[in-house]
């Protein structure tokens, strides 16, 4: 076995320090070392997006990244997006529009969608589908996921307009 490395991450605003092997994946470190189990392992082959987290402001698949590559990074997982008492607009919208069935893909979907709406605050349906292409859902047929994201986008935009 290789020597352990000293890893520092900021996850959902909290500083974390731990030892990891060079071959430990980011998803493994999050789930098994830090007990942050929102990001799921759907495929482990970088196709499904269930493991999506935000790393230094960008969507990444945490199953296809070593934790050593994330050393020093700021990470947001679904645990850092809204809370049970104060849901994020996207979480509220997924709930309202039935954007989930079994819910397995949902942490990845919502984490990716937060970035999608930052990258493009007024997406068309086609742009939502293109921007969510790395996230697979076995249940919903996507229709309601797209609807939820579009509804959240208009919600955020009308709130912004009202504030101006």
């Amino acid at each position: 076995m290789s020597d352990k490395m000293h890893i520092k991450l900021t996850v959902n605003g909290e500083d974390k320090e731990f030892l990891a092997e060079p071959r430990d994946l980011l998803i493994y470190a999050l789930r098994e070392k830090l007990n942050i189990t929102g990001p799921h392992v759907g495929c482990d082959t970088s196709h499904c997006g269930a493991c999506t987290v935000t790393l230094n402001g960008k969507s990444v698949k945490s199953c296809t990244m070593f934790v050593a590559q994330a050393n020093g990074a700021e990470i947001t997982t679904i645990e850092g997006i809204g809370s049970p008492d104060a849901l994020h607009v996207l979480q509220e919208s997924f709930k309202e529009h039935h954007g989930l069935q079994c819910g397995f893909c949902t942490p990845g979907m919502i984490t990716r969608a937060t970035k999608l709406l930052e990258e493009n605050p007024t997406p068309t349906e086609e742009e939502v589908r293109f921007g969510m292409a790395g996230n697979i859902c076995r249940c919903t047929g996507y229709q309601n996921i797209v609807k939820s994201i579009l509804a959240a986008a208009s919600e955020i935009n009308s709130a912004k307009e009202a504030a101006e």
Partner: protein
């Protein structure tokens, strides 16, 4: 995954030294290498991450040439290579957003997957692949499935793309992986047209010389009408037969000519 050590050099010289060690391998964005390691199809003793080397990242434009650092992600090329729109569009359509945030042009060209997008852009544009020891013309660089002119431990520092008068990449996606089932890159220069085909041949990316000759005389989709493509040496798998791919080569070339701008 087998066990390995990781090194994170911050200069090309240090990376080259680290790659000189026995069984060392470069790690770009890991979007190809990490799945390979998971399947135990590779067993490096040291991974040399190139991500910390600022010198091999970024996009710059100088006259008629766009230079892309070997460690530049697809997402950055999509956003910053606007001086060469067909190239930026190709990068913006690789995989999905998370793949584009990690995967790099150097990794893609070093890997030379027969269905990857970038090799067709490099070959059709007549790009130059710059490494830590030399410059390699695209025509000499691609040497078959997953084979390139790179020596062991050689690092892709940058890729220089001459900007054509008009160009387009048209990809017929394999919907599950989003790699090219067949992809065709057409580039029109003052002195002629270059056409590179990916995803189709068992020999990897190649130039379709008959189409180049036809299009250099008459740059319109109709110019291809009389040409036939044989399915004999085409990849044949559950996603498409050799004949189907051969058919797509012509269709996608026509589309690329029609879309070239």
């Amino acid at each position: 995954m087998y066990s390995f050590e990781v090194e994170r050099p911050t200069s090309v010289a240090d990376a080259a030294a680290a790659l000189g060690k026995d069984e060392a391998q470069a790690l770009g964005g890991g979007q190809t290498l990490i799945p390979t390691l998971k399947q135990r199809l590779a067993s490096p003793s040291v991974l040399v991450s190139l991500a910390g080397i600022a010198d091999i990242k970024g996009v710059s434009v100088d006259g008629g040439t766009v230079t892309i650092g070997g460690g530049t992600t697809h997402g950055v090329v999509a956003a910053e290579a606007g001086a060469y729109p067909a190239l930026a569009a190709l990068a913006g359509n690789i995989g999905d957003p998370a793949v584009r945030n990690r995967g790099t042009i150097g990794g893609s060209l070093a890997n030379n997957d027969p269905s990857a997008c970038y090799p067709s852009a490099a070959l059709a544009s007549g790009a130059t692949i710059v490494t830590n020891s030399r410059e390699i013309a695209a025509d000499d660089y691609f040497q078959g499935l997953f084979e390139t002119a790179l020596e062991e431990g050689e690092i892709v520092i940058s890729v220089k793309f001459p900007i054509p008068e008009a160009a387009s990449y048209q990809k017929f996606e394999q919907p599950a992986s989003r790699f090219a089932l067949v992809g065709v890159y057409v580039a029109k220069f003052a002195d002629g047209v270059r056409v590179a085909v990916t995803g189709a041949s068992e020999g990897g990316v190649y130039r379709w010389s008959e189409a180049e000759a036809a299009l250099s005389g008459n740059f319109s989709a109709d110019a291809l009408d009389g040409l036939t493509v044989s399915g004999d040496d085409m990849i044949s798998d559950l996603h498409g037969s050799g004949d189907y791919r051969a058919h797509l080569v012509k269709v996608m070339t026509k589309r690329a000519v029609a879309a070239a701008s």
